[in-house]
């Protein structure tokens, strides 16, 4: 093949798989809008009302925001200590956090259910936030440690000579220049927390008003088994926030998820 033919072949191949990748999504949109017969947004209105998605999106927003912010602060601190300080037990501690990267929700959800219930934390925001902070912190510490290790020691020394304490160095010097790494971490933990389904399913087992968006969709499916235009509208509503962020910041998403970070 000549170079021009090769290039066309490459792009055609990629285009085919791009279409395959979005095909079900196109279906979602056409079904939700009842295309091609007419453009009808009523499914969204009906789904929004009957599925109580306003409440569920708010819950997801609260849980995700709290989880991500708390996990970020804890991860930055722990990553700083493990990446930029030397202290006894540091490498053992790092291995402990590293082990957490591979722990699937399935392995902890049952004991979490019984223990959180006996602490009165089932059907609460805290019962959703604390375990997800723990999962995010395993990744976050791993991620932030890698960033802090990449910082030239001369920078730390300069800050110390200027009289900055380790605390000031962290928040005034290292965090501002580490914004790209921190942004990636925030995006990934946001996505994982927003999309988490098993934990809310088990922890929010009786209080309907606390359901998160994915959990809401599963109950919505339970009541509208084959009304696909309604279901698709619901699916779009709960997926949209993450997809919109992804479209704008895809580079950070992809780099983070492919960095070898072994977490779904």
């Amino acid at each position: 093949m000549n170079p021009r033919g090769e290039r066309i072949f490459n792009h055609a191949l990629l285009a085919v798989f791009a279409v395959i990748a979005v095909f079900p999504m196109i279906g979602v949109v056409t079904q939700a809008l009842k295309l091609p017969d007419d453009v009808d947004f009523s499914s969204f209105g009906t789904a929004w009302r009957e599925g109580h998605f306003a409440t569920y999106l708010r819950n997801s927003l609260i849980v995700t925001a709290c989880t991500v912010v708390i996990a970020a602060i804890l991860s930055i601190m722990a990553g700083y200590a493990l990446g930029a300080m030397r202290f006894r037990g540091a490498s053992a501690l790092f291995l402990v956090f590293l082990a957490g990267l591979t722990i699937p929700t399935e392995a902890v959800v049952v004991p979490l259910y019984f223990d959180l219930r006996s602490m009165g934390l089932d059907n609460t925001y805290a019962g959703l936030i604390l375990p997800q902070v723990a999962m995010s912190v395993a990744f976050g510490t791993f991620w932030m440690r890698a960033y802090f290790r990449s910082i030239p020691p001369s920078l730390l020394e300069a800050a110390r000579i200027d009289g900055a304490s380790s605390w000031t160095t962290l928040w005034r010097v290292l965090v501002p220049i580490g914004r790209p790494a921190i942004l990636t971490m925030l995006l990934l933990t946001t996505m994982w927390t927003w999309n988490e389904f098993l934990l809310p399913l088990v922890i929010i087992n009786s209080d309907e008003a606390l359901r998160t968006a994915p959990l809401g969709l599963s109950f919505f499916q339970g009541t509208h088994k084959t009304d696909y235009s309604l279901l698709m509208a619901g699916a779009l509503i709960i997926a949209a926030p993450i997809v919109i962020v992804y479209v704008f910041l895809q580079r950070q998403f992809i780099a983070g998820m492919l960095s070898g970070a072994i977490k779904e």
């Binding site: 791009a18 601190m77 399935e106 049952v110 389904f197 098993l198 580079r251």
Partner: protein, 324 residues
């Protein structure tokens, strides 16, 4: 009072050393040259460690403990030893579930990696225009909540969905009627679920391999061509070895996805029809909350954690082992 006094003397004693070390006023960390171990590191790690230990490690330990008992979640638990673990292969439904997991790993991991490899191999190393666009689209299935993906695919597979519509056209064109209720069919439900995983995984593998290929120096290909290597030879001697790291990452991520396959099964099939799509991740939930076998549910959960750990540690070593 005594502590305060002791603290003061300690501080006074440390001051000269501290000014010598870093010129830092206050001397909070005692006399210590720069780079010396500092216990303050523990203070920074402590908050993360507490939450992580309390809400991830501790539940894992508790899960391992639960797994040694027969317990229905309400009454008293009875010591069961390792019998819950032996059940994972003596109980036919559970053995089936682990068998399904193996099938799904092929669909979730082996298929996407093979397909992506063939595609990347088939594409020559010309510059790809719009790479960012293709990358964004191909990777999209990775960021959508699995529950939403499940809803979309339930429609794709439904009686009046696009697959059956196309098969209906083929039927009216004279071919046999291949239409099915795919997710409700004992033969087709598992492969149907598997194909969803293939769909999710292909983009990830393609994006990884495309990025890897761009990093291979062109001279390697030129050298291979001069040596008279054909396209297949070139792929085997240049592309494949250069993409080992990407392959390891892709295999690991997609296999973990197959192991943690709760959302899709719960939303699309609930393990049915019959036991046809039961997988271990679903059985953790099912055994605990539907059939009241908490110990067994925990044993499956612990087994999955061990599997996930082994896969993560193992695949990297397997693929990269010779160099590392």
């Amino acid at each position: 009072m005594t502590t305060v006094a002791r603290h003061k003397t300690a501080r006074k004693r440390s001051e000269p050393a501290d000014t010598r070390a870093a010129g830092r006023p206050g001397g909070r960390y005692g006399g210590r040259p720069p780079g010396e171990p500092r216990a303050i590191g523990w203070l920074y790690v402590l908050p993360a460690l507490l939450v992580y230990g309390g809400f991830l490690l501790w539940p894992l330990i508790r899960g391992a403990q639960f797994s040694l008992y027969d317990w229905d979640g309400l009454g008293t638990a009875e010591w069961a030893g390792l019998s819950n673990y032996t059940s994972t292969w003596t109980d036919p439904a559970l053995r089936g579930a682990f068998g399904h997991l193996l099938v799904l790993i092929v669909f979730y991991s082996v298929f996407p990696c093979c397909i992506a490899f063939v595609l990347v191999g088939a594409m020559s190393r010309t510059k790809i225009r719009g790479l960012v666009f293709f990358r964004t689209v191909l990777f999209l299935p990775q960021v959508i909540a699995m529950v939403a993906v499940a809803v979309a695919w339930r429609w794709v597979y439904s009686e009046d969905g696009p697959i059956n519509t196309v098969l209906g056209w083929l039927h009216s064109a004279g071919l046999p009627d291949w239409r099915h209720g795919w997710l409700g069919d004992f033969t087709f439900a598992l492969p149907a679920v598997g194909l969803v995983g293939t769909w999710v995984g292909i983009g990830l593998a393609l994006v990884l391999f495309l990025a890897g290929v761009q990093k291979i120096p062109r001279e390697l290909y030129e050298a291979a061509r001069i040596d008279g290597a054909g396209a297949v030879r070139e792929f085997l001697t240049v592309t494949l070895p250069a993409l080992r790291r990407e392959l390891a990452v892709a295999l690991t991520l997609t296999t973990i996805m197959a192991i943690r396959n709760f959302d899709l099964i719960y939303m699309a099939t609930e393990g049915g029809p019959g036991d046809a799509t039961k997988v271990p991740a679903y059985e953790v939930y099912n055994r605990t909350f539907n059939t009241g076998e908490v110990g067994l549910g925990c044993a499956i959960g612990v087994t999955l954690a061990v599997l996930a750990f082994a896969v993560t540690a193992g695949i990297g070593r397997l693929v990269e082992g010779k160099d590392a």
